[in-house]
């Protein structure tokens, strides 16, 4: 199962890279994907979730993309504002927030999403806690911080990956 998913992913990426259906290239793709799969068979997918092909996941994922891009755009406008403002209005600090996600991949996606969205940058993940560098610490209450930073994505990612 794991091997098959890896192989499929590699082959699809190969087809996209070459962007042609010439039989020579497709055959080469089959061989090359086999090589890549052989070398990384236990890596790409660690523990498959219970229903890997459930369509609901993909619908959630499609929903996640625009949400993510919207926040990313906001993040950029925010940073642009701070950078271009003559006084550089920042109030940085590192805060600790808690997440409910369990799987590695979902934690990672959450952390990366946090890094790319307004004013926050993940410094480390330890257990259930994320250490986040926040360019403008708005509140000192940990619950409130968690709500602001994590909740935006946590629910969606939970549906997608767990």
């Amino acid at each position: 199962m794991k091997v098959f998913v890896t192989y499929l992913a590699a082959f699809v990426v190969w087809l996209l890279l070459t962007w042609s259906l010439d039989p020579q290239e497709v055959l080469a793709g089959l061989a090359v994907s086999a090589l890549a799969t052989y070398l990384t068979r236990d890596l790409l997918v660690e523990l498959p979730p219970s229903k890997p092909f459930h369509p609901k996941r993909y619908l959630w994922f499609l929903y996640y993309i625009p949400v993510f891009f919207w926040h990313m755009l906001r993040a950029n406008l925010d940073v642009a504002y701070r950078v271009l403002h003559p006084e550089v209005p920042i109030r940085p600090g590192i805060v600790k927030v808690r997440t409910n996600l369990k799987r590695d991949i979902s934690k990672t996606m959450l952390a990366n999403s946090i890094t790319l969205t307004p004013g926050t940058l993940t410094v480390d993940v330890v257990g259930d806690f994320l250490y986040v560098h926040w360019i403008n610490v708005r509140t000192d209450d940990p619950e409130e911080q968690t709500r602001i930073i994590v909740r935006r994505f946590e629910r969606i990612l939970k549906e997608v990956f767990e």
Binding site: A10, V13, W14, L17, A36, L39, I105, N112
Partner: protein, 151 residues
């Protein structure tokens, strides 16, 4: 805990497959697009190096043990050498003796794709071997104490 933080490890898991795939792409398409055996091989070595950075030395060394790496290294070099010698038997050293095919197709240009593949294997494996040797090498043998014997 071995290796780097969870985020780096997870992303390394995801990306390594594609780095290796991409290295193979660069090697195989060497005569059509920029690239060729050499950069492809280096990318392959770097892909496995990423695993070492993210997970420590055990995982990549399990995938490519040092003994096998040295054999593969020699085999890659021998393959390229053999192409040269085959051309020699056909008339000239390094004669491009295979059929040339159509331009822009994957199977074209005679021996070039084959040479690229051999160089790719050779470069990738040997660079990985040297990266491992450099990284794993440690100096912690106090003057009085002798390190273990090896061949």
């Amino acid at each position: 805990m071995k290796g780097m933080s969870l985020i780096v490890r997870t992303i390394a898991r995801v990306v390594t497959t594609f780095i290796i795939l991409y290295s193979a792409y660069i090697v195989v398409y060497g005569h059509i697009t920029p690239g060729g055996g050499f950069p492809g091989g280096v990318i392959l070595a770097l892909g496995i190096m990423l695993l070492m950075l993210a997970f420590g030395k055990d995982l990549p060394l399990r995938k490519l043990p040092e003994g096998r790496a040295s054999v593969l290294d020699c085999l890659g070099a021998l393959g390229f050498w053999a192409i040269a010698l085959l051309g020699f038997t056909a008339g000239y050293f390094f004669l491009n003796f295979l059929g040339k095919g159509e331009p822009f197709r994957l199977v074209s240009a005679g021996t070039m794709p084959l040479s690229n593949i051999f160089i790719g294997i050779k470069v990738g494996v040997s660079l990985f071997a040297v990266l491992t040797a450099l990284s794993v090498y440690r100096r912690f043998y106090p003057p009085g104490e002798e390190p273990p014997e090896e061949d």
